[in-house]
Symmetry: C2
Subunit: 288 residues, 2 copies
Amino acid sequence: MRSYIDCIPCFFYQAIRAGRIAGLSEQKILHILSRLGENIKDIDMATPPPEIGSLVYSIVNEVSGETDPYYDIKQKHIKLALSLYPRLLDYVNVSANKLDMALRISSAGNIIDLGAQSEIRNIERVLHDAINMEHRIWHSDILSEKLPAANSVLIIGDNAGETVFDKVLSSVIRNIYPEMKIYYAVRESPIINDATREDAYKSGIDEFAEIISTGCSAPGILFTQISKLFANLFEKCDIIISKGQGNYETLNDVDRDIFFLLTVKCEIVARHLNLPVGASVLYYSEVN
Amino acid sequence: MRSYIDCIPCFFYQAIRAGRIAGLSEQKILHILSRLGENIKDIDMATPPPEIGSLVYSIVNEVSGETDPYYDIKQKHIKLALSLYPRLLDYVNVSANKLDMALRISSAGNIIDLGAQSEIRNIERVLHDAINMEHRIWHSDILSEKLPAANSVLIIGDNAGETVFDKVLSSVIRNIYPEMKIYYAVRESPIINDATREDAYKSGIDEFAEIISTGCSAPGILFTQISKLFANLFEKCDIIISKGQGNYETLNDVDRDIFFLLTVKCEIVARHLNLPVGASVLYYSEVN
């Protein structure tokens, strides 16, 4: 997906948020915004938003001297999500359609804002709502039909914390298909609150999936950056499940069948998918 | 009120909106955003947002070659508001506290988004809600106490269309105090959908008030630009009623008793007034 002019103010909001999380003064954040502003003329709107996002966060890191300002937040999110893990498994265990429930839980992981202010009670409610949500697009049955013939699944992860919710999905796939090879791809290095190898291991997803790096440090998949291993798996895995909006924005035009499991978080993607902001979707994008 | 870093992304959104209303291509709007971006380093955050807003809209006008891109929208808003005018008077006529109702109507004029998409039915509902709104801050009684001793009232207008709602307020003040001198101040030249002299005359507010220009072309009051007439009235009028957020942002620190009648439209002003976005307020700011 290309970028749109409406993405530009959003990049400025993201820079402010990241600058605040990095503990920068208003003066330093203003300097970041100014640097970003000077770069607008060079932005190639044909590139997807996560590529421009990389630029935004690299300016923030350069000014702050931090390489991982979201580190503490990510640790908190993973810890919080791990404390919910037994409950998430209970949801699956009492469900008649375990795969569908695991997909709902994985989706919930993308919805829930495990922000510092979130209370457990609030998460419980959001989790309940997410799991019981009526989806306009939910291709759970298609995935269910395709899995028996598959030997390998590549899950492309999104945020730290969400990794624990994806662990539930991985465990369910592994339980139903004990021979299935499952890969879980994460960012090469820290970017926003996206999951890295460290985050995935801390979430314990290696119990069910092989953790690999995409090779990219952007909050999405940039084919100019991907590792050979990821390129190979992306080509050869029987099933790909792509989590979150950043991965969608960079993969939706790719010539590959992909299940996109995401929550719509901005107007641009909402228009793209013809869904309202806030909607969750499991969308099977099939190459004709 | 000074500007905040959070205002900067908002200026970009405003530029996109204005560029679209001026019918510009995405390429030209991107050029505006780039120009705006290059100007961030020179922005003086000590100045109020409407001063920076002036810069935003001057770039849009320069690129579009238009001086009044909102002209058609303003005409539509005034026409629509005039069609509601008899109904607005009915509200006043059946009310036990006519001044309070007129203030509520004037406030409704600042709430209602008379956008091209608005349906009359929707306006009816918003109007009803606005008039019946419970306000956390509503200094209607203070105004009511001060009016009998006053000889002159200066209303500082905001948007075209809202002018018709302010006409109701002017008419009620005039009916209760036939000798009251009422002034209605508008922008010197077109800026966004703010009211100019032409808009005020088309709304017929001259029936009850003398229409004057503030001398400013910003979407607020900049004391470096104000006319001598406005400066004189601002100093000497017994009562000042300032409409809308732009006037609030430029007048809230001024050494002058002012009634601010506005709807909170952004997080920054919300924090400033300790009210939620969407709240309407009649706030008497008294110099100690």
